[in-house]
Amino acid sequence: MSTKGTKIPERLKIPFAGITPAPTQEKGQDLFPTGNWRSIRPVYRDKLPPCNNACGTNEKIQGYLDLVKRGKYLDAYALIKEDMPFPSVTGRVCYHPCEQACNRGKYDEAISIRAVERFLGDLGQALARDVVKAGTPNGKKVAVVGSGPAGHSAAYQLARLGYKVTILEKSPKAGGLNRGGIPDWVLPQHVLDREIERLVEIGVTIKTNVEVGKDVTWDELKKNYDACVLAVGLTEPNSVRAEGENKDGVLYGLPFLRDIGMGTSKVKVGARVAVIGGGNTAIDCAREALRQGAVEVTMITVESNPQEMPAVPEDLHDMVEEGVELMHGRTVTAVLGNGRIEALQLHPARFSGAINASPITVDKEAKAERFAVDNVIIAVGQRASLGWLPDEFKTERGTIKIDRFGRLGDTNFFAAGDIVQLGSGQPLMVVNAVGDGKRVAFNLDKVLRGQALEPRTVPVDVLFDLNRMNMTYFPHFPRVQQTLLPAASRRKTQEEVIQAYSEEQAVEEASRCFSCGTCNACDNCYLVCPEPCIVRDVRSNGLYKILVDYCKGCRVCIEECPTGCLEGVPELDFDTGVVRMDTAFAVSPGLHGRQAEELKNLGDRAAKNI
C-alpha cells in the first residue's frame, strides 16, 4: 500500500478531497513562487518623450497632455507653469520644436501641442488667482535687465525661489520681444499684459524707461544687487548695405513691429511694400504691412525657393494665403529715388555657403531689375547694442561671453536669451530664450547659495524609435485643426488669426498623444498579465508594481505596453527578488549562478539528516 503511513502536512491540508484552496496569495500562489521561472524581469522605466526633449525649456509636454486628456486642466496648467511662465504667449507664438520632434508626426500628424498649450494658458489667464506662488523670501535682491522672454522667465523663476526681483526695462512698456516683435494678430497685447500682471503678483518689481548704460551703470548693478541677469536681447536691426539705404521710406523689421506694438508708430506705409528677408520676422512684417494699409506686398528673398526659407511653414502658408507675393533669388543692391524711395534695384543673389546665414554672393554682371515700391522693410536679422558692457565680457560675434552655466566669469552676473544665443547655432526663438532664462535662474540660485555648478551627467533615454512602443494600440487619427480667420478678411484687421481650441478639441487632441516611453496609467499591463502579478492600489502613473515572487517573466506585459515604458531587464542584473530553492539547478553559471556558493554548503546542511 503506497499511501500507508503518509500524512499531508498541516500547511498543505486541503478542505475536501479534490477541492483545493482558492488561489489567493495566502493559500494558493504562496505554494508555488513561480518567480523562479524568470530570466527577464519587467521593469517600469520612464523615458524622455521627444517633445519634452525638443522643447527649449523642457516643458513636461507629455505630462500635461495626459492631464488634459483626463480633464485635469488645472493640474496641467500648474505643470506647464513649472517651466513656462506664459503659456498663453507661447501657446500663440512658439515655433513649436516639440511638434517637429513629435513621434506622431512619423505616424500620421504631429500633436498640435501649441494649441493645447494655448488652451491651458488661456485657462490660466481666466483664473482670479494664479496657481503659482512666490517663494519664501530669502532677503536677496536680483536685477533682471530686459523684460523679454528670457528676462521674464528668469525673473519668474527667481521670484519663485524667493528672490526680490527688479526688472529694468528700457521701453515704456514691459514685454520686450513679446510685445515689440510679435504683431497683435498673433499675440493680442492684453494677453501679454495679463502675464506681466502675474509676474507682478508674485512680487516682481518692473521699472520701465530704465536703460542700462544710460540710466543705470554696470557698477551700480554690481553694487545695488546681489546678482544680475542680463537679458537685453538684440535690439539693432542689420542693414543690407545697399546704396541709398538712408532714404526716406526705408524701414527695418523689428523697429517697424516694435513701434506698432508699443503704440508709438508714426509710419504710414504706402500702397506698394517690399520686404527684404525670408525669416519669421520678415513674414510678420509682410503681413503687418497689409494690415497697415499696403495693397501689394512682395517678399524678396535670397533663398531660391520657399522650402529654403528659415520660416515656419504654416506662417509662410498663411502669409501667401493673405496675398503676399514671393520673389526669390534676389537681393537689394540700391535704393533708388530722389530723397525718398521710389524703387529698388535688384540683382540675382544666392548664399555662398550651405546655410542661409552664410555670406551672400551677388551676381553684379547680371542686368539689374528695377522694382518700384513706396516702402521697403528690411528684416534680415538683429544685433546687440553692448556699449555699456565691460570689454572682457564681449565676444567676437557681438554677444555676451558666458561660461556653460550662463555666468559672466566669476561675477554674479548671468546672461540669457538671444544676447547669448545669437550665432551659437541655436535657433533664436521665444521658447529657447525662456529655457535659457530658467536655467540661468537656477544656476544663479546655486551660486548665491554657495553650491558648485556641475553639468548634468545622467544620460537621458529619449524615445525616438516607434518600434520601442506597441503601435497596434494607436489607431490613425487626424490632427484637430485650429480654425483660422478667412484670409480675405483677416489681412485688414488686427484680430487674432488663429482661433483657440474648444475644451472638446483640446481633449481630443491631447488624447492623440502616444505618451512615448512614459507610463500613462493605461492599465494595460495590469489587465494583460496572465497571473495577478501586477498590482496597483489606484490607477495612476508609475504606481504599478510587479510581484517578483510570482512573475515568470513571460514578457506579455512588456510586449503589450503601448508606450514602451515597460522594459525587460535580465534577471542577472538584480540582487533581490530571486526566489531561492534547495536544488542544484544553479551549478552552471546561469540565471541562479550567484547561488553557487550557497549550494556548496547546501549539501552539508541537508546531509545532517542522514
Partner: protein, 402 residues
C-alpha cells in the same frame, strides 16, 4: 527550399524553450503550428519572433486548439514538410486522437513537450504524465535534463525520425520550468555542421496532385495488422538508427551522449536512482556529496523511453543491490500504485539472473522541486532496504512520510 542564414558557432545563454526553438530554426523547419499553453509557449514565442524577423522562412500557423494543431502538423507532414509543433500538460492530452494516426501514417512530425502537471486544478509545474500517457502511440520519446541537451535532442530526433528506416514522429521532452525556463549556456553550432548532420527532409510519398497517393483511407480489418506490424518493426529498427545517429552527432558536434542511459557515479555503487529528466541535475549534486561521505550511491538516467532499451536497462541495473525509481509521473492504480516507470523497470529486470530490489518514489509531483534532502531521504530508504534484504513497500510518497 529556402535555407537558414549562415551562422557561426557561438555560446548563448538561453532557456530550454528557446533552445528548442533554436533547434527548429537550425533544422530549417517548413511548418510550425502553435497553440499556447504554459510552459512550452515560450518556444512558440521565440519561433514567432524568428519568423517575423525573417530569420526563419516557415509557415507559422496558430491553430484553434491542440487537436487542430496536431491535425495541421499531420497534414503538413503528409505534404512533405518538415514540421515542428509542441504542447504542455492538458494540451498534450487534447490532441490525443492524432498521435496514433500520425505515427500510423509514418509522418516524422516533431513535437516539443515542456512538461506540465495534468489538471486538477491548474498546476503548471513539471510532471511527466502528460507525455508519458502517450508513450505507446508509436512516437519516439525521451527526456533532456538541460537546455543544451534539449537543443541536441531536437536535432537528433529529426535525423532519427526522418530516416527512411524509421519514419516515426518524435516527442522531445523537457521538464517545464526546470529546463524550459532556467537559463544556461548553450553552444549553438555552425550552420555548416547542421547541414552536414541533417539532410533536407524528403518523404517518399508526399501528397502531391501530380502524383496522387492515398493516405489513411478506411481499410478492411485484415489490412490493419500489417500496418501495425510495420509500425512495430519501425520502432525496433529505430534502435540501430538511434545509436548510429548519436555516434554521428558526437563526431560532428563533439558532444557524445549514450542514446539510452547515462550512468553517474555508478562505479562501486550499491544503490542507484533511476529517473528521467531535469531532476538528474540535483541528483548528481546530491550523489557527489553522499559519495564524499562514503555512501555507495549512484544515478542511472534514462534518456530514451521509446523505444524502450529493455536489454540495456536489464544489463545496467542488474549490477546494483537496490534501484530507486524516481517517478515524477502519475500511474493511479498502477503496478506499484504510484507511477508508471516502476513497471517498465521491473519488466526489464524480470529476466535478469541477478535482480536488484526495486522501490518507487513519488517525488517531484506537481512540479515540486526534488530538493537535496529528499535525495538523502530516498537514499536512506534504499540503504535500509539493502540492509533488510527487502523493501518496506513498493512506493514511497516523498515528503509525506516520516
Amino acid at each position: 527550399m529556402p535555407t537558414a542564414t549562415e551562422v557561426k558557432k557561438r555560446t548563448v545563454r538561453i532557456n530550454g524553450c528557446v533552445a528548442a526553438a533554436q533547434a527548429a530554426k537550425y533544422a530549417d523547419v517548413d511548418v510550425i503550428t502553435a497553440y499556447p499553453i504554459r510552459p512550452y509557449t515560450a518556444t512558440m514565442m521565440a519561433l514567432a519572433q524568428m519568423v517575423a524577423n525573417g530569420e526563419l522562412d516557415a509557415e507559422y500557423i496558430v491553430a484553434d486548439s491542440e487537436h487542430s494543431q496536431l491535425s495541421i502538423a499531420h497534414g503538413a507532414a503528409s505534404s512533405g514538410a518538415r514540421v515542428f509543433t509542441g504542447s504542455s500538460g492538458v494540451g498534450v492530452q487534447f490532441a490525443y486522437e492524432l498521435y496514433s494516426p500520425i505515427s500510423g501514417s509514418r509522418m516524422p512530425v516533431q513535437m516539443m513537450i515542456a512538461d506540465r502537471t495534468l489538471d486538477p486544478p491548474g498546476d503548471f509545474g513539471s510532471e511527466h504524465t502528460d507525455a508519458l500517457s502517450t508513450r505507446d502511440m508509436g512516437w519516439l520519446m525521451g527526456w533532456s535534463c538541460d537546455a543544451q541537451e534539449a537543443f541536441d535532442n531536437h536535432l537528433m530526433a529529426y535525423r532519427i525520425g526522418e530516416d527512411p528506416r524509421v519514419l516515426l514522429p518524435q516527442m522531445v521532452c523537457q521538464d517545464g520550468f526546470f529546463v524550459s525556463h532556467i537559463t544556461s549556456d548553450v553552444e549553438l553550432p555552425d550552420s555548416g555542421q547542421v547541414k552536414e548532420f541533417l539532410p533536407p527532409y524528403k518523404h517518399p510519398y508526399p501528397l502531391d496532385p501530380r502524383h496522387p497517393v492515398s493516405h489513411g483511407p478506411q481499410i478492411m480489418p485484415e489490412q490493419g495488422p500489417p500496418l501495425q506490424l510495420e509500425r512495430a518493426r519501425a520502432m525496433e529498427d529505430s534502435m540501430a538508427v538511434i545509436e548510429q545517429v548519436h555516434d554521428e552527432f558526437a563526431n560532428i558536434f563533439g558532444r557524445r551522449y549514450d542514446p539510452w542511459i547515462e550512468e553517474f557515479m555508478t562505479d562501486g555503487a550499491e544503490v542507484v536512482f533511476f529517473l528521467q529528466g531535469a531532476h538528474a541535475v540535483t541528483a548528481r549534486f546530491a550523489i557527489q556529496h553522499m559519495r564524499d561521505k562514503g555512501l555507495k550511491v549512484g544515478l542511472v538516467r534514462l534518456r530514451t523511453i521509446r523505444p524502450y532499451p529493455t536489454d540495456r536497462v536489464k544489463e545496467v541495473l542488474s549490477k546494483f543491490k537496490v534501484v530507486g525509481v524516481v517517478e515524477t509521473n502519475m500511474g493511479l492504480g498502477s503496478v506499484s500504485s504510484g507511477g508508471v516507470l516502476y513497471s517498465e523497470v521491473c519488466a526489464a529486470l524480470y529476466e535478469s539472473q541477478q535482480r536488484p530490489l526495486v522501490v518507487s518514489f513519488m517525488a517531484g509531483m506537481g512540479g515540486e522541486a526534488i530538493v537535496m534532502k529528499e535525495f538523502y531521504w530516498m537514499t536512506q530508504k534504499m540503504m535500509e532496504a539493502q540492509k533488510q534484504g527487502k523493501i518496506e513497500k513498493r512506493t514511497h510518497w516523498v515528503g509525506f512520510e516520516e
